[in-house]
């Protein structure tokens, strides 16, 4: 197999390249290993998990439909500013308000306390005065964004759309088969092993040369 000659660049360029690449390598490794957590579950996953956890059929069935971000957001780029669907307005109305049982609801909705707000939405009187549950009644019942007589969380449990008529549609993705569930709770296990293997190969080769 032919060996092709190449011109050797100057040493200053090599030193510069080494420094730059070493810095990039260190930065890359820091980027890779510095985060203490895998990606957090997004709200749709939390909602389906919470509805399953608190399921008690037949009055409180578990939902089978993983909602999309459009359940609460009016934009394909979800953020707080576009959390403006009727059910979201009702949920956000609980922020920093006193609980019937004492204490206060959290000041903001995040993955760690979404379950608190879902429980409030299902079991406490609605605090969104524009909601149908507060119309022409002395005391608001559980929020009912579309005013169809079925409370929002009850509709979610039955895979119905709380923001309007009809069912909460669930697209299903994929063609078939299923990859086995991930078993490791430490997602960097494979990386650590491979990094260790790579380092071992490098050290063994250097030791042999000596």
């Amino acid at each position: 197999m032919a060996i092709i000659e190449t011109s050797r660049p100057d040493h200053a360029s090599f030193r510069r390249a080494r420094r730059v690449s070493a810095a990039a390598l260190v930065a890359s490794l820091l980027l890779v290993v510095s985060s203490p957590a895998w990606a957090k579950p997004e709200f749709p996953g939390i909602i389906i998990d919470e509805l399953s956890r608190t399921a008690a059929p037949p009055e409180k069935p578990a939902s089978t439909c993983i909602p999309t971000c459009s359940l609460c957001h009016t934009s394909p780029s979800p953020d707080l500013a576009n959390a403006a669907q009727p059910i979201a307005n009702s949920l956000l109305a609980f922020r920093s308000q006193p609980k019937p049982s004492g204490g206060m609801y959290p000041a903001s909705v995040d993955p760690d306390n979404l379950a608190v707000f879902l429980d409030a939405l299902e079991n406490d009187g609605c605090l969104n005065t524009n909601d149908a549950a507060c119309m022409n009644v002395p005391m608001c019942g559980p929020c009912d964004a579309d005013g169809d007589g079925t409370a929002d969380v009850a509709e979610l449990r039955r895979d119905a759309d709380p923001n309007g008529p009809g069912q909460l549609a669930c697209p299903k993705y994929g063609c078939g088969a299923r990859i086995a569930p991930e078993r490791s709770s430490r997602p960097l296990d494979g990386t650590a092993a491979l990094a260790a293997l790579s380092a071992a190969i490098v050290f063994v080769r250097r030791w042999r040369r000596r």
């Binding site: 197999m1 032919a2 060996i3 092709i4 190449t6 660049p9 100057d10 360029s13 090599f14 510069r16 390249a17 080494r18 730059v20 690449s21 390598l25 930065a27 890359s28 980027l31 890779v32 990606a39 579950p41 997004e42 749709p44 996953g45 389906i48 993983i66 909602p67 999309t68 459009s70 009016t74 934009s75 394909p76 780029s77 707080l80 500013a81 403006a84 009727p86 903001s108 995040d110 524009n130 309007g164 909460l168 549609a169 697209p171 299903k172 993705y173 994929g174 063609c175 078939g176 088969a177 299923r178 990859i179 569930p181 991930e182 997602p187 990386t191 491979l194 790579s198 380092a199 490098v202």
Partner: protein, 414 residues
């Protein structure tokens, strides 16, 4: 396929370190797809088919494209200009494999982190990313087959990656994905290419930033917005274009969620460093898979331009009207300037605007008009990208919208 013996132009330790990074990224499963850099128009590459197997850009590189990525894209440390230099040995597939002429292979891996200023304070995330491998095999003079396969892991309910799934995990488990797969043929002295399969939508400027509003709002990104259909493309020195008859995405169901319609673009070259084009898209579905609304017909229609202003500066711009049967008229656009400070180091500034259109049932549902929903919403990206070695680049984006996000990416392509 034969292994090439070579004298590395770079120190062995450096190469070894580079391979360790590449493997680490591979195990972490970086996502998505390789890049299509439309600012290559600054080098008078106003078309895409010279460097990419796809005549409209993206994914698999041709051997010429690999050579140009080494000569023009990455930072050079030997002091030679692109005109003086020869493509490095490491520019080949996996850095050292010489492929048969009929076979083009590639792959892309990415790991990213975000630092976001959310309601409850700053939040850091490291995204689980995917590896994609892709390729194209030529069968005889005119026919070819190609596609991509990868893996993804996204949270339940995420709008990303799902539409490209092959396996059926609906939660946050790993899934196999295939963004593209197709058969095709060239004809008419290779000016025309017909393809059938799952394909990138021909629309607008094929930028790598799939979360840019202009790609999200029109659902024309290369992340997972591909559709199954029949495509015909045309390429010449003065014009290029492609049209896709959209038959639906058959990697999801039931059928009520499948969009059917068309998408096309047509671009005229104004000299070797400027191009002006138009795009149009129209789809209809019994139910929209994102908004879940019924009987949705949506469209996007607009114009775009790519201009090189002198050697180091490229300007990209696109503006589209958005039509949807459940909303008032909307619009989305962006303007991006890319300045190459020195070869391989880019600074970018991007401004974007979005108004999806106020929902027609908004007053009934008491949805207030807000930025992006009946009112214009503005966003700004301040970015830097550094192609520091063959097959490797890092990118940092400061994204200023209603919330601030710092996005950092390490990208490796095979």
């Amino acid at each position: 396929m034969k292994l090439r013996s070579n004298l590395w132009p770079l120190p062995r330790g450096l190469v070894r370190a580079w391979w360790m990074v590449l493997v680490l990224v591979g195990v972490l499963f970086a996502p998505e797809r390789a890049e299509a850099y439309t600012w290559m128009i600054r080098h008078a590459y106003n078309g895409c088919g010279v460097c990419h197997a796809d005549p409209t850009g993206g994914e698999t590189l041709t051997p010429y494209g690999r050579a140009q990525s080494d000569l023009l894209l990455r930072m050079r440390y030997d002091g030679k200009s692109p005109e003086e230099a020869e493509p490095g040995k490491a520019s080949g597939f996996l850095g050292f494999i010489e492929l048969p002429q009929s076979l083009m292979l590639g792959g892309s891996g990415r790991v990213a982190s975000t630092l976001s200023n959310e309601d409850e304070g700053m939040e850091y995330r490291l995204f689980p990313m995917q590896i994609d491998v892709y390729g194209q095999l030529r069968l005889g003079k005119s026919f070819f087959v190609g596609g991509s396969v990868g893996v993804s892991k996204v949270p339940a309910g995420s709008p990303h990656a799902r539409a490209a799934q092959v396996t059926t995990g609906q939660g946050d488990s790993w899934n196999m994905i295939s963004r593209n797969h197709f058969i095709g043929m060239d004809f008419g002295e290779q000016r025309f290419t017909a393809r059938a399969g799952r394909l990138n939508l021909p629309f607008g400027i094929r930028i790598p930033e799939h979360t840019m509003w202009v790609r999200e709002a029109t659902r024309t990104d290369r992340e997972s917005d591909q559709q199954h259909g029949l495509a015909l493309s045309y390429t010449s020195e003065v014009a290029r274009g492609e049209g896709l008859l959209i038959l639906g995405n058959y990697q999801m169901g039931p059928d009520e969620f499948r969009e059917r319609g068309y998408s096309f673009f047509f671009e005229l070259m104004a000299g070797s460093r400027a191009a002006l084009g138009v795009s149009s898209l129209y789809t209809a579905a019994k139910r929209d898979r994102i908004s879940l609304e019924t009987n949705v017909a949506r469209g996007a229609h607009g114009a775009f331009t790519r201009v090189a202003l002198g050697d180091p500066f490229a300007l990209l711009g696109e503006m589209n009207l958005l039509t949807e049967s459940t909303r008032d008229l909307g619009y989305v656009g962006f303007l991006q300037g890319d300045y190459e400070l020195t070869q391989g180091l880019h600074g970018l500034l991007t401004a974007e605007v979005l108004d999806q259109g106020y929902p027609r049932a908004g007053e009934i549902q008491q949805i207030p008009k807000a930025a992006g929903l009946g009112k214009p919403q503005f966003g700004f990206w301040i970015s830097a990208q550094y192609f520091f070695l063959p097959h490797l680049d890092v990118r940092v984006d400061a994204i200023i919208r209603s919330e601030f996000q710092l996005l950092t990416q390490l990208h490796a392509f095979l």
